[in-house]
Each structure stands twice: as structure tokens, then as C-alpha cells.
């Protein structure tokens, strides 16, 4: 069968290397200081002109896309919160056959799903997993703001332990609000999708790294998954000017770990020499304000275990809850 032509995306070295042409243009209704919107813009800068984006229902659909007011300069389609992976599969399959038959002239478009945490690993998990299993040449981005933010901040499987949402309000019987620990999204996909060759985690606090990871994912023939940490001023209850600060603090405390998984190998980025206590990350966000010391210690223990073992141990000192206290 004939090779489907694709276009290689160049990696950038620094901010000067990024083309200033915007693809996620100004003029959208997302929050001031919106982390997911920043993520959308950075992924759009990475993918550029030859792209088709899919927006499963979520904040980045509803807040962006009033009639005649879409901010997407590339081809974009809404899909249901359930079926981002499936609609993307259909688009990729269509382009394969149209290019093969000579009906479409040009390289295979960059097909990018911009799913929220709900659209990626909760209600949308089945479609995402099947798309990766089938090996479609699609970049699946999960912009993770750790809640169903569009509908007014309800808990999702990514809401951290102790996070206050409108479905997990703290009360006398449930003092920590949310009792469960979140899913590990990249490991879910790495663990069982042989066609998947590239998985990465990124953060809006580290934009060059984020852009390069998206481009690497796009350059792989076949599915790629990038999980992006996107602080949400509305849902996490912090001042909107602190979005990038919160994102960086997450990495500095080990709450968030940036890494790449490429053909079975892990490479870590932005690993601090010493992790700050996770309390420093949590205290800036009102969603954690109700927590007591014991809850924070439980969170620290979880984070400590996580940074020690996301696939492969890291050789850096990790503060435990006791040492921190």
C-alpha cells in the first residue's frame, strides 16, 4: 500500500524559535488567566497550519465556541464529550483513503484531539483507548484542569485528593471533600496500547517543552498522547494572575512530573534538586483550604510515592511528610 505523505514538524530551541503567527487567535470567552486556554494556544502554535482540531464538549468547547465566534484559525470540529477519539479516527481514516485515491492533494493533516480530563479518561476513555489501540495517526491531548469546569467545577477522576468541588464539598462527615486519589492517565494508556509509541506529560508553565512534546507526538506515525497540566483559576480558586506560577509550583513540589515515554523509555524533565513540600503548592489554592494537617500529610505521602516511581525511579532527594514537618 502506498505511503501516506506526512509533514515533519521542527522542534524549537527557545521562545525566539516559535513562529508568532497565532492559530488560536485572541477573541474567546475563556476565563482571564485560563490555563486550558493557554494550553490550547501553545498546542495550536505547535501544530500550526496543516491541522484539524477536535473539541470534545468541555470548557474549551463551550467557553470558546459561540456561534460565529470560534477562535480556531485551522479546521476545527466539535464532537461529543464521549467520542473525541472516535471522530478523530474517522477523520484520519477518511484522509487516508482520500489521499490514497488521489482525491485529496497534500500531506496528512495534523489531527489533534483537545479533550479535557473528562473527555479523555472519564466518559471519553473508551474512544481514546480504541483510537490508540487501532493506531490512528492522531495526537490526543488531554488538557487537565482536574475537574468538570464547564458545568461549574464538579469532580472528575483527575480531581486530586482533598480537592473541593461542587460535587465534593467538605462537610462534617467528609472533611476532606474529595476522598479518592486521581487516575494516572499516561500510565493507563502506556500500559495497554501496543500501537502507542509516544506519551508525554507537560505543563503550561514550561511552554517550549510543551510545544516540542506536541510536535514530537505529531511526528510519530501513529497515535500519541500528551497529558498537560492546566491550572484553572475558577475551579482551583486562586488569583488568575498566578496560573503560570501555580503550574511551576506543581512541578517544583512533585505534584506534577514532566516526562516523556518514547518507545518504552522514560526521560524526565524539570526535575528539581529538592522537592518543595506539596503544602506550598496547596496553600495558594482555596480548593484545599479546608484540609487539616493529616490530610496534607496523606497528600504528601501520595506525592512522595508518585515522584519516586512513575515507571522508573528518579535519583533525587524526595521529602516525605515527616521530614517536611
Amino acid at each position: 500500500m502506498a505511503q501516506i505523505p506526512t509533514k515533519e514538524m521542527e522542534l524549537v530551541k527557545n521562545l525566539r524559535g516559535i513562529d508568532q503567527k497565532e492559530w488560536y487567535v485572541p477573541g474567546h470567552r475563556t476565563c482571564a488567566g485560563c490555563g486550558p486556554a493557554l494550553c490550547y494556544r501553545l498546542v495550536s502554535l505547535a501544530a500550526g497550519e496543516n491541522s484539524i482540531f477536535l473539541g470534545p464538549t468541555g470548557c474549551m468547547y463551550v467557553a470558546n465556541c459561540s456561534y460565529m465566534c470560534t477562535p480556531f484559525a485551522y479546521a476545527w470540529t466539535h464532537c461529543q464529550i464521549t467520542n473525541g477519539g472516535a471522530v478523530a479516527s474517522g477523520i484520519e481514516a477518511a484522509y487516508n483513503v482520500l489521499i490514497r485515491k488521489g482525491k485529496y492533494k497534500g500531506p496528512l493533516p495534523n489531527i489533534v484531539v483537545m479533550a479535557g480530563d473528562g473527555g479523555a479518561i472519564d466518559i471519553g476513555l473508551q474512544a481514546a483507548s480504541a483510537m490508540m489501540y487501532r493506531g490512528h495517526d492522531v495526537l490526543f491531548v488531554m488538557y487537565d484542569n482536574e475537574s468538570y469546569a464547564n458545568t461549574g467545577i464538579q469532580t472528575s477522576p483527575m480531581t486530586p485528593y482533598g480537592g473541593k468541588t461542587t460535587f465534593t464539598p467538605p462537610g462534617k462527615m467528609i472533611p476532606e471533600g474529595k476522598k479518592l486519589f486521581p487516575k494516572d492517565a499516561p500510565q493507563l494508556f502506556i500500559g495497554g496500547h501496543p500501537a502507542l509509541k509516544y506519551v508525554a506529560t507537560a505543563s503550561v508553565g514550561y511552554p517550549v517543552d510543551l510545544i516540542n512534546k506536541c510536535r514530537k507526538g505529531l511526528n510519530y506515525k501513529g497515535p500519541a498522547f500528551v497529558h498537560i497540566h492546566c491550572p484553572c483559576p475558577k475551579g482551583w480558586l486562586y488569583n488568575c494572575k498566578d496560573t503560570v506560577r501555580v503550574a511551576k509550583l506543581a512541578v517544583e513540589t512533585g505534584f506534577w512530573v514532566n516526562y516523556e515515554w518514547e518507545k518504552g523509555e522514560y526521560v524526565y524533565q524539570h526535575v528539581p534538586k529538592t522537592y518543595k513540600p506539596v503544602k506550598e503548592y496547596m496553600k495558594g489554592q482555596e480548593r484545599f483550604n479546608h484540609l487539616q494537617e493529616e490530610h496534607i500529610a496523606k497528600m504528601q505521602a501520595f506525592i512522595t510515592a508518585k515522584v519516586k516511581a512513575p515507571g522508573k525511579p528518579i535519583e533525587v532527594p524526595v521529602l516525605g511528610p515527616r521530614e517536611e514537618a
Binding site: 521562545l15 477573541g27 490555563g35 488568575c240 494572575k241 496560573t243 503560570v244
Partner: protein, 115 residues
């Protein structure tokens, strides 16, 4: 069809919708959604202090900072800046300060609709 059905409906201009609600992709900006009136305080740049490190460019969710290739200076977009001040926090050169929008004469697109 029977004449009991309306064959062609009168849809007022402002409610006309393309087949499938498909709309053309915007170029450069989305002028139907100006967001400058979200701003309480605007970021003000001190070009002397600015090192054009591009932090404000890259961290703006609303793409409101760009490097003018001719003057090599940062240019701010008053029409869309929502005043989140991520740029102010992330400026390593202390070149950005904030000032209340009412202290300026122009700069905000006055809109009939809030969204």
C-alpha cells in the same frame, strides 16, 4: 408537498445559520468576541526595562503580546487583553506594572453586548 406546509421560511438576518452551523475559521483574531472590556487593570510596559525575553508573549492565554519585528519591541493588544496579569507576574525584568483602566481615556472597545 401539500400547500399546507410552508415551503420557504422567513429567517431574520441575525438568526441566519449556515448549513450544519459551519462557520469560516477566523484569521488573526475573532472580532466578534472582543474581550478588552473584561479588564479592570491593564498591564503597562516600560520599554526601557523590557529585555524582549518573550515571556509575556508565550504565557498569554489570549495571545495579546507580540514582538514587533521592525522595532524589536513588545506590542500589547488592548482590544483583547482580559487583564489577567500573568504577563506581569512572569516578567523577569520588572518591566510591567498595572494601572486601573479608568485612568486611561481610550483603550477599551465599548460593546453593546457583554459577551
Amino acid at each position: 408537498m401539500s400547500p399546507l406546509y410552508c415551503e420557504k421560511f422567513r429567517i431574520p438576518k441575525h438568526l441566519e445559520i449556515a448549513d450544519g452551523a459551519v462557520v469560516p475559521a477566523p484569521v488573526g483574531e475573532q472580532p466578534m468576541m472582543k474581550t478588552g472590556n473584561w479588564r479592570i487593570e491593564r498591564p503597562v510596559i516600560d520599554q526601557e526595562k523590557c529585555t524582549t525575553c518573550l515571556n509575556c508573549f508565550i504565557y498569554c492565554p489570549d495571545a495579546c503580546w507580540h514582538l514587533d519585528p521592525k522595532s524589536e519591541k513588545m506590542v500589547w493588544n488592548a482590544i483583547y487583553c482580559k487583564g489577567c496579569h500573568i504577563c506581569v507576574v512572569e516578567c523577569p525584568a520588572d518591566a510591567l506594572r498595572t494601572e486601573n483602566e479608568l485612568n486611561f481615556k481610550g483603550g477599551v472597545a465599548r460593546l453593546d453586548k457583554p459577551y
